[in-house]
């Protein structure tokens, strides 16, 4: 689709805007390919796959080292680890799931939060600079895990039929309106939830990284190929790149927080008492 109009910049070379293809990183090391459903897939190890393992190792190593020598008066490392743990346990576990059964889910929420946070921060850490979760397949795994956990917790508490009733019949609704409400609630609570959970994290990381690529490439293009008067705009684009990169750090933290918060909300809804 092209729109004919007037361009301000006369360029010697076409500017190719970044797109989803920029996220298809080549495989590292030896790799092959195979065909499935008429599409060709790469069989090999790619950068996000290395990152997701690295993140797990980093989180484990940090908390292992930080908690190895526990003392009553915490050192610097132990203090950071305790603050992180307390943040997840209190603000996401206890406040949302409730004091009765939050402790069972704290290990999951805690590991999930720091795993997602480290993976998101990879987008900013120099020499890595690629958000793992900008590949949607990585997030679907976490979403399926979350779906299994909150449904299993709910079924263990209420039984299969009781759980279905809890999730699909809102309290206080009676009469023919149930015909409309029950399918809607069923779809939104049990089918759409993992999809939106995964899409939110994926698309935030994807859009943020795309924005950074756009500022970097656009700045470079304006500076090197732009007409004399628009060259300084390239520098402004690079200044904006730095500003957006800081905004991205905030978003990376916020998305990790929201991802785990929603996990906790889903678990809390599943183990809640019937009204």
């Amino acid at each position: 689709m092209s729109v004919t109009g007037t361009t301000v910049i006369r360029a010697s070379e076409e500017f190719a805007p970044p797109g989803p293809a920029d996220f298809d990183l080549p495989a590292v090391g030896p790799h092959g390919s195979f065909e499935l459903f008429g599409q060709s897939f790469v069989l090999g190890v790619t950068k996000p796959m290395i990152q997701i393992v690295l993140a797990a190792v980093l989180v484990f190593a940090f908390f292992y080292v930080a908690s190895r020598q526990r003392s009553m008066v915490p050192g610097r490392l132990q203090y950071v680890a305790e603050e992180g743990y307390g943040f997840v346990r209190n603000s996401m576990g206890r406040d949302i799931i409730g004091s009765r059964d939050f402790m069972r889910f704290v290990p999951y929420l805690f590991a999930l939060f720091f795993f997602v946070l480290v993976n998101n921060l990879f987008a900013t850490i120099p020499f890595i600079q690629f958000p793992t979760f900008s590949r949607s397949g990585m997030v679907y795994g976490l979403a399926i895990l979350s779906w299994v956990i909150y449904n299993a917790a709910g079924i263990a508490r209420h039984g299969f039929v009781g759980y279905l009733k809890l999730q699909s019949v809102p309290p206080g609704v009676k009469g023919p309106i149930l015909l409309l409400i029950v399918p809607l609630e069923f779809l939104s609570n049990l089918v759409v939830r993992p999809v939106t959970l995964a899409l939110r994290l994926f698309a935030n990381m994807f859009a943020g990284h795309l924005l950074l690529i756009l500022f970097a490439l656009g700045g470079e293009y304006l500076l090197l190929h732009g007409a004399a008067l628009v060259k300084p705009v390239g520098l402004i684009a690079w200044v904006l790149f730095i500003a957006v990169a800081f905004l991205e750090i905030l978003i990376q933290f916020l998305q990790a927080y929201v991802f785990v918060l929603l996990n906790a909300m889903y678990i809390s809804g599943a183990v809640a008492d019937e009204h």
């Binding site: 729109v3 006369r10 797109g19 406040d95 899409l199 939110r200 698309a203 927080y257 929201v258």
Partner: protein, 72 residues
């Protein structure tokens, strides 16, 4: 100076679609700030609700950007 602007109209549509969630997120945080200004001790409870509302409103914009790339 004649030339052409190339690109996908999807992106313009996405820009328009993002107005809705933008207004929504603004309203959510306006209500949050109002609430905290009236009752500062309720901040910790309101914060969770505000972030949750923000995440739900933002999901619409996010689904939009995914679809803007997917549908062509």
């Amino acid at each position: 100076m004649n030339g052409s602007i190339n690109g996908s109209l999807n992106m313009i549509g996405y820009g328009l679609a993002a107005i809705g969630p933008g207004v929504g997120i603004g309203l959510i945080f306006a209500a949050y700030i109002n609430g905290v200004a009236r009752q500062p001790e309720a901040q910790s409870r309101l914060q969770t609700i505000a972030i949750l509302g923000f995440a739900l409103a933002e999901a619409l914009a996010i689904i939009g950007i995914a679809l803007a790339f997917v549908l062509s």
